[in-house]
Amino acid sequence: MSQTFSLNVNGKDHTVEAEPDTPLLYVLRDDLGLNNPHFGCGLGQCGACTVHIDGKPVHSCRRPISEVGVKKVVTLAGLGTPDRPHPLQAAYVQEEVPQCAYCINGWIMTAAAFLRDNKKPTDAEIRTALRHLKCRCGTHMAILRAVKRAAAMMG
């Protein structure tokens, strides 16, 4: 049975009608029109659907709306804007990272949480932190350059 849920996304409150087991991904995309998290696998294996929930990277394809509650959801659109970019967004543009760009939610949202908690990470630490994400176009080298560039910006 469909139920009413309240949630806070990118600083705004919303109310949606959904089946309790509906993954957050579909609520964001179809009910709120926030298309940036993408469906990649629905299995939590690729990262294309990643959002922050209370600052932690989460696979929105696997998180039922009923478990989101009052926690704060942030999507790529809420991470930064062209006027006030997150350092990773700025670095991604400067390094021209993506080929198709379908995977970037996972890399940017995961790396943003990692860089917030890990100042001046080593190459090996960055690689390990991002090892569960997928990029099919093979932009790994550019991703590494961008994350290192952002890490330098974030001090």
Binding site: Y26, A48, Y92, C100, Y102, R136, C137
Partner: protein, 761 residues
């Protein structure tokens, strides 16, 4: 529909209306004189028909002086749109920033073949360059008329025509034609797709005068994507749209015999669409469509499991009867020379099925309204999809509008075109616009596969160790079991499940190299598919179709010859390679990598962790690439780290070195993934590689430490493809490096820990 898409469509429709007005006027009687006058007027108010022989089909000067170009190929994220804008702006002498490029919309561009065969710049750019040069020529002639000066005394800067020796005499492109359309005929060769070519009378610029081509201008589409402002194909929505999902059998070849709709009766708005082997569901909410597809009770026909066990795959290929054989290069008398050879060296190599496994499974939105169809898709070939929709829906071609919209990375004939056809069948059945997205297991398990193959190579040596004959044969599944685009229903899962007559094509390929062996034969043989209809192992084009597998074999074998003769692998190649540009890339890679001459293997390492280096080179059409890999091998785990690559790349004239660098780098990393990890697994019932655990690809800990790229620029040589060429030498470069490190030759891909361990033991 989202805001972004609306605004883009609005301008396209405005253009369309003008085209419509022209059709009406053509139907009315036109006096001979006025028809001639119209023909001779290079600027007209209404857009001429969208045909390849009209300049207006490629270029328009807007009222504000900006230039719009319309391109019938797609940019799959490799920066092609920047390169095309550079080529057009260069020839027209307009600022790069004033150029807009519209790509892949069947209402505004002609069929230039879509993203196909690395021809974006090579063929597509060539045509756009010629069209832009002709537009400039026509504009300068118009200016000559207006200014009362001969055209050869005029020059153009930033879209303004100047008298060469009187700066006060100027007229801008906008003043000459702004807001009107070119009415100029081009000399079209009558072909559509990649070979479409329609030059005018103008000659393009001399490369020495370039100011825009050759510059590292950045892509403009990245920031909107990084700030989540871009709509992908998956993001488009239209009013009244429902979500679709497809249902595939657990045993390939089975068809539904009983479908229990009551099993999903409690899911709001869920509906079943079942016709012969075609089975899907739709629902208003996406999650409901997914739940319905999972829960629907289906009884399937008793199909005999169609596949051999995976372990028997290569034996199957060896024993299968040949359906078609073709010889590529044939020089001298190979068979006779082998009879008298002092020594014969031979080897056989194996390459598995591989999956496109795109980041996002196929997705398409099809809207059928009043006999007209609109489709949003991330296909590589929008114009062929237009034909496919017309065919499967039996609707006139000009009633179908396909709007290419950026999608998840695309590397050939993926599931994108299957998805369009499935969405069309669903939309027709339910009478509503349908957005269909495949699930992950379908994106990996049911996409068309890169063909599995074996490759037999032998060489005859004389008593002095010279190669006197070379014989290369590939045998495998066809690269065109289903064709390279979805224009025919028989090549889509929808057509095949609905029961259309099949026509499996035959094609493979031969090595691209310039080894000048006195006697040389390269050939291929194709075999029938394992299951002829709606097969999850149907085969088609995947990035650099059959290039990685063929050159894994051919360039591993060249290395085997060098090792058998105890000759340095670079030196050995240079003995036989004839083409000077091939020599140049091999030398450039070796120099950049600091290659020291010695034969492989090293034989100086002990312990579990060993390192090695390997070289490989190949031509792909007029492009040539040499790759040196430096790898670390863990003998006990079988794990390989392709630590460093050095690439030398020559694709003639470089349009944008920045874009080219990214394209090469990404090619190398993706090809490394295919070499080290990628293998479609199956049992006798179906494909069992259905997600990222069962179809692993390279992860970040396995990415190289360094990729050095030498880009050799030849401004005087026509630009050739770069989208795929760097993929093909990578597998052999890695395998050759593993041999150098371990002394063991691995002839079966992928070089996964499992395969490497078994080879080393």
């Amino acid at each position: 529909m989202t805001k972004h898409e609306k605004s883009a469509n609005f301008s396209r429709r405005a253009v369309l209306k003008a085209g419509g007005a022209l059709v009406v006027s053509v139907g009315a009687p036109i006096a001979f004189d006025s028809a001639r006058a119209a023909e001779s007027d290079p600027a007209v108010a209404t857009k001429p028909a969208l045909t390849p022989d009209q300049l207006s089909s490629y270029i328009a000067v807007n009222a504000d002086g900006t230039v719009s170009a319309y391109f019938g190929k797609m940019d799959m994220g490799q920066g092609l749109s920047v390169a095309i804008r550079q080529m057009v702006a260069e020839e027209l002498d307009v600022p790069f920033a004033s150029m807009k490029l519209f790509i892949g919309d069947t209402d505004t561009s002609v069929n230039q073949g879509g993203a196909s065969g690395s021809t974006g710049v090579q063929d597509g750019g060539k045509q756009m360059r010629m069209a832009a040069a002709e537009a400039r020529r026509v504009l300068v002639e118009m200016a000559a008329d207006k200014l009362g000066l001969p055209a050869d005394q005029l020059t153009v800067k930033d879209g303004v025509v100047h008298a060469a020796n009187d700066a006060t005499k100027t007229i801008s492109y906008a003043q000459l034609i702004g807001g009107q359309f070119f009415n100029v005929h081009l000399d079209w060769n009558g072909k559509y797709g990649n070979p479409l070519y329609a030059p005018g009378k103008a000659k393009p610029k001399n490369p020495k005068d370039y100011t825009i081509v050759g510059k590292p201008l950045p892509r403009q589409d990245i920031a909107p994507k990084v700030f989540a402002q871009t709509d992908f194909a998956m993001d488009i929505k239209v009013p009244g749209m429902v979500h679709g999902r497809m249902i595939r059998p657990a045993i390939a070849g089975a068809v539904p015999v009983k479908v229990d709709e009551s099993s999903i009766a409690d899911i709001p708005s869920a509906r079943v669409v079942w016709d012969n082997g075609f089975l899907g569901v739709v629902a208003e909410k996406e999650w409901d469509a997914i739940r319905a597809a999972r829960r629907l009770k289906v009884e399937w026909s008793n199909a005999t499991p169609p596949f051999p066990n995976q372990a028997a795959l290569y034996d199957h290929i060896r024993k299968a009867s040949t359906r078609k054989r073709e010889v590529g290069e044939q020089i001298g008398n190979v068979d006779d020379v082998f009879k008298t050879a002092a020594r014969v060296i031979e080897a056989e190599y194996e390459w598995p099925f591989q999956s496109h496994a795109r980041m996002g499974p196929g997705c398409a939105l099809v809207d059928i309204k009043d006999g007209h169809v609109t489709c949003w898709t991330g296909t590589q070939k929008a114009h062929f999809v237009q034909t496919g929709l017309a065919n499967i829906l039996q609707i006139p071609h000009d009633h179908v509008h396909v709007i290419w919209t950026t999608g998840p990375g695309s590397y050939g004939r993926s599931d994108a075109d299957d998805c369009v056809a499935d969405a069309a069948v669903l939309a027709r059945a339910v009478g509503k616009p349908v957005r269909l997205q495949y699930m992950r297991d379908q994106g990996t398990g049911w996409d068309p596969k890169a063909p599995a193959s074996i490759h037999r190579v032998r060489a005859a040596l004389d008593a002095s160790g010279n190669v006197v004959a070379y014989d290369f044969l590939s045998k495998g599944f066809s690269r065109v079991d289903v064709d390279t685009n979805g224009s025919q229903p028989r090549d889509t899962l929808a057509g095949q499940t609905l029961g259309v007559a099949l026509k499996s094509g035959d094609g493979f390929g031969v090595p691209g190299d310039s080894y000048g062996f006195a006697n040389k034969r390269t050939a291929w043989e194709t075999i029938a598919p394992l299951l002829d209809r709606a097969s999850p192992l149907r085969t088609a084009h995947m990035r650099d179709p059959v290039g990685p597998q063929i050159h894994f074999a051919s360039e591993s074998f060249i290395d085997e010859l060098a090792a058998a003769l105890k000759v340095d692998p670079v030196e050995f190649r240079l003995r036989y390679v004839k083409d000077p540009r091939d020599v140049a890339v091999i030398k450039a890679a070796a120099q950049k990598a600091g290659w020291q001459s010695r034969p492989a293997p090293r034989n100086d390492q002990r312990g579990d962790k060993v390192s090695g280096r390997g070289i490989s080179y190949a031509q792909r059409g007029p492009t040539r690439v040499a790759v040196i890999a430096e790898v670390d091998v863990n003998r006990s785990t079988g794990k390989i780290w392709a630590r460093k690559f050095t690439v030398a790349h020559d694709c003639g004239q470089i349009i944008n070195p920045d874009g080219l660098h990214h394209v090469i780098e990404n090619n190398v990393v993706q090809a490394t993934s295919r070499t080290l990890w990628e293998e479609v697994k199956f049992d006798n019932k179906t494909v069992t590689s259905v997600d990222w655990r069962t179809y692993p690809i390279l992860d970040m800990t396995e990415a190289p430490e360094q990729v050095d790229i030498v880009m050799i620029n030849h401004p005087e040589i026509a630009p050739s493809g770069a989208g795929e060429a760097a993929s093909r030498p990578v597998p052999a470069a890695i395998a050759n490096a593993v041999f150098d490190a371990t002394g063991v030759r691995i002839r079966r891909a992928p070089l996964s820990p499992e395969n490497v361990k078994s080879a080393l033991s």
